[in-house]
């Protein structure tokens, strides 16, 4: 389910090339939506003085996450190897339950639909969904 075909990789790279200019806004909106729609995810940010979805900390975090996604696009041919340090970070330092990767992925897809309704076709959707699932799996690699 998470093996990316050549077509998937091509689709993801082409779509990313189109949208990466807005990656900061995409990330900020995805994280904001996650905090509002799935309030249980706020537990990971109890150290923020302001946990509201549009706070500077939330926006900054969205930018960080999306930079990671962009980086993953460049490492699409070997995500397990390419993301191994990020996996260690999430496993041992952040200790984010991997179920939450799916939640954030869903919100990234919603933002793509909101911001790029014509470009986010069903074909792009399936390849991007597979890609985010593969990224999530690579991020889970070092957990146990």
């Amino acid at each position: 389910m998470t093996t990316l075909t050549a077509k998937d990789k091509q689709t993801v790279k082409a779509f990313w090339a189109k949208v990466s200019g807005k990656s900061e806004d995409i990330g900020a909106d995805a994280v904001a939506r996650m905090l509002v729609v799935y309030p249980q995810t706020k537990i990971y940010f109890s150290h923020w003085p302001d946990q509201s979805p549009n706070s500077p900390a939330a926006r900054k975090h969205g930018i960080t996450v999306m930079m990671g996604v962009g980086d993953a696009v460049t490492k699409i041919d070997d995500l397990k190897e390419g993301l191994k340090e990020l996996s260690q970070l999430h496993a041992f330092t952040l200790r984010v339950d991997p179920g939450n990767f799916k939640i954030l992925s869903h919100n990234i897809l919603v933002v793509m639909a909101v911001m790029f309704p014509t470009d986010f076709t069903p074909e792009v959707h399936v390849s991007l969904d597979k890609f985010l699932a593969a990224v999530s799996l690579a991020l889970s690699e070092k957990y146990r």
Partner: protein, 147 residues
């Protein structure tokens, strides 16, 4: 039983009063069949589902998408007892259609994404939360009669 604030009820009513069922229904179902191809298992009588273009152009898929979307009207009309609203449809999905209830979420996510594309920035985080809460209640009700 799900509790709704006045604001949530107003949001749901507003979404559905402006909903173009004939547009959103076909788009949501076809997206589901493309993004989660194993869901095609329920539609073997629908003819050509061979690729995305075929699915999008398939008249039976479009017609069925509209029908399924109108199924949400049952919950809209009876928000204070959604479980009761879907008792019959739940039995249907379990006993006649044999739909895996995990698949409700797949279609639900596609409806959300198609609606997001239609509404753009008007589909705020709060709107998304309320809409997903509604779909969650419908899905839960649809699963109730499975045994």
């Amino acid at each position: 039983m799900v509790n709704w604030t006045k604001t949530e009820k107003a949001t749901i009513t507003d979404i559905f009063s402006h909903l173009d069922y004939d547009d959103i229904g076909p788009k949501a179902l076809s997206r589901c069949l493309i993004v989660y191809p194993w869901t095609q298992r329920y539609f073997s009588g629908f003819g050509n589902l061979y690729n995305a273009a075929a699915i999008i152009g398939n008249a039976k898929v479009a017609e069925h998408g509209i029908k399924v979307l109108h199924g949400l009207d049952l919950g809209l009309k009876k928000m204070d007892n959604i479980e009761a609203a879907y008792a019959d449809l739940s039995s249907l999905h379990s006993e006649k259609l044999h739909v895996d209830p995990d698949n409700f979420k797949l279609l639900s996510d596609c409806i959300t994404i198609v609606l997001a594309a239609k509404l753009g920035s008007a589909f705020t985080a709060e709107t998304q939360a309320t809409f997903q809460k509604f779909l969650g209640a419908v899905m839960s009700a649809l699963g109730k009669q499975y045994h």
